[in-house]
């Protein structure tokens, strides 16, 4: 067990919504008065949770609430969550830009942050001057920068433009230079927020490699915030999932990425609410079995699992066949299978409850899919479109991009032969 380099305890941050600079004098006085009487901040009690969509009656909000975690030396720690979940606030607190409302952060080392591309770059100064300026802003001494200057320029790959003012740089060149400076910094803890969003694939690859080197070989700690789950999956050992300013999951990347993909608000149970009352039988419910996620209606892409349909026969149903369809949200059919195709799978049901089991796997992109199930015995016995959708999660192991628009999700392997 490696030693912790950073520990966060009960960290919370409250913000005031709307126009901050009107009427604050009276609030300030009110706050000051309650502090004099050793009472709690009157506005802290009012604060609501951080939910973008919910309409709030008061104008104070907890952007972060009660966050606890610790990070070991040399670890690459991922922070994921939807927009507005509090990721940036957490990074701002970690990098000392603003102070917490409650809680503490204990650090054992210098922190260097790369919160936004080219922070502190001066447009009129040349690339060379900006390397020194940016390095100094990030806490480096001049001789440290000098020592690493060639390395930085080399890594950024913009040697030709090093004496050109950075206002003439393309956005890609800007990022290259900014990342190069930050990656060659000395701090024990490096904070990286969404840098990989810009820059071409080759440079992204280079950055990922550099980050791995920084953590594994130099034993430095990296905080990595990204919406690119493939990058998070490949880089991070552990991660934190934030939801509305609170810790949703903290732990292994697998666990966090799984939770990130599952919609927590969805508490459908796969049971049919309204069963048709006339007929010879009807479907009762569906669920999965043998899948990795604990949710009974969620599976990983490509993994083997069983899909189970429960059926209640009210009458004897001879020579029936089960068929079902899986379709994407836009209505495209992904799969349509019938038990009697090829193998002649026909069933004989007596009155009572039955459970059909279908072994299968779905090499499709992550998302939600609609199910349709039907039982056919020369006429349709029952047709059911469950309200519960089948969720497919991504392992983020393939080359595919996270925001893939493609239907399939398969592991690909590239190689080249010179002919």
């Amino acid at each position: 067990m490696k030693e912790d380099i950073l520990k966060v305890e009960g960290l919370s941050k409250m913000y005031k919504l709307g126009d901050i600079n009107t009427g604050t004098l009276s609030h300030d006085l009110n706050r000051w008065w309650s502090r004099m009487r050793r009472k709690e901040d009157p506005y802290q009690k009012l604060a609501a949770t951080n939910d973008r969509s919910a309409k709030s009656d008061n104008s104070y909000v907890w952007s972060l609430k009660d966050i606890n975690f610790s990070v070991a030396r040399g670890e690459v720690f991922g922070i994921v969550g939807k927009n507005g979940a509090g990721k940036s606030t957490l990074l701002k607190l970690l990098s000392k830009i603003t102070k917490p409302t409650e809680g503490t952060i204990s650090i054992d080392g210098r922190i260097g942050s790369l919160l936004e591309v080219g922070t502190g770059f001066h447009p009129d100064l040349s690339g060379r001057e900006n390397i020194f300026l940016n390095g100094a802003i990030l806490g480096m001494r001049k001789h440290e920068i000098k020592k690493r200057f060639d390395e930085i320029v080399d890594f950024s790959g913009i040697e030709r433009y090093i004496d050109t003012p950075v206002k003439r740089y393309s956005s890609g060149m800007f990022v290259r230079l900014a990342f190069a400076v930050a990656a060659h910094l000395e701090p024990e803890i490096l904070i990286i927020d969404e840098v990989l969003a810009v820059g071409d694939a080759e440079f992204q690859q280079k950055c990922l490699g550099k980050m791995r080197e920084v953590s594994q070989q130099q034993g430095r700690t990296v905080f990595f915030v990204s919406h690119n789950m493939v990058a998070v999956r490949h880089l991070c050992t552990r991660a934190l999932l934030l939801e509305q300013g609170r810790t949703s999951v903290i732990g292994s990347v697998d666990k966090v990425l799984e939770a990130y993909q599952i919609d927590q608000k969805d508490n459908e149970n796969g049971i049919r609410n309204k069963v048709p009352d006339n007929g010879r039988g009807h479907f009762l419910s569906w669920q999965l079995e043998g899948q990795t996620p604990s949710d009974p209606h969620t599976c990983y892409s490509r993994e083997d699992f069983f899909i189970l349909f429960r059926f209640c026969a009210l009458d004897t149903i001879a020579k029936c066949e089960l068929n079902f369809r899986i379709s994407s949200q836009d209505g495209t059919n992904i799969l349509f299978v019938n038990s009697s195709d090829f193998f002649g799978g026909q069933f004989h049901l007596n009155p009572g409850e039955y459970q059909f089991r279908v072994r299968m796997n779905l090499p499709v992109s992550r998302g939600k899919y609609d199910l349709d199930a039907g039982l056919f015995a020369s006429t349709w016995i029952d047709n059911w479109r469950p309200t519960t959708k089948l969720s497919v999660l991504d392992t983020f192991e393939g080359h595919g991009r996270d925001n893939s628009v493609a239907l399939l999700n398969v592991i690909t392997e590239f190689s080249i032969d010179h002919l």
Partner: protein, 297 residues
Amino acid sequence: MPLPVHDTIPVQNNIPERKWQEVITPHNSLFTLNIKEIWSYRDLLLILMRRDIVAIYKQTILGPLWFVLQPLLTTITFVIVFARAARLSTMGLPPILFYLSGLVLWTYFSECIIRTSTFLKDSSPILSKVYFPRLIVPLSLILTNLVKFSIQLGLFFVIYLYYLFVQKTPVAPNGYALLLPVLILLVALLGLGSGMIISSLTTRYKDLAHLTTFGVQLLMFTSPVIFPLSSFGKGVYGLVIRANPMTGIIEAFRYAFLGKGELNWPLLGYDTLFIGVLLLVGILVFNSIEKSFVDSI
């Protein structure tokens, strides 16, 4: 049964408290000034200064010549308006020397206060993205202005030497000229202290910024830049002028180099005390907002 000896040793069941290099808490430490941290960022201070000075060179045609033209043109205006038209006393000194000596010091003070009073707002793009000791920015502004001030002081000395050796005006410097570095330091600290207070307050109450520029202009009329201190008695106006911490400094400067004016030790002592208290209040106010101003700009 007697206890075995080793049982008397207390069992250490509490793990020793971990020593962290730094702990971030919601509380501000009001009276500390992290000199060590600022010192570790001294290269940033130099680079920021260089950046500001280079920016002045790069963007204008006349470049640093403006530094010279500005006080020169103001002095000429003062000579025409106050000495020639209004016939105000310059204590028998050549009006150019009289006005320039006051203006050079006053310009440094007002530049320091005006630039530092808006620095939190002006530098917010950087300050809200990355952490470094925030005090670096006002310090760099004051040092950059010191370069500008040195050029203007040079101008004063050129004209001074002309009067001394060509015109043979009896304005020889005396031993108190050695006080010059102290006087400059006092002006710099005065600018820094008031700038820190104003900039801290402007992050919350924005209209203060307008007041500053205007207020500093008005404040000049309560200093001996235009009128010598000796032309006021002990009346109310004399007290107001003496209350201005720049008064003692400007008078001492004139006395040291021009031989006229007042080297008033109690007044200088008051100035020093005033500046010391102001600086302390400045640090206090600045510390209280340093870690949270990003949320309100």
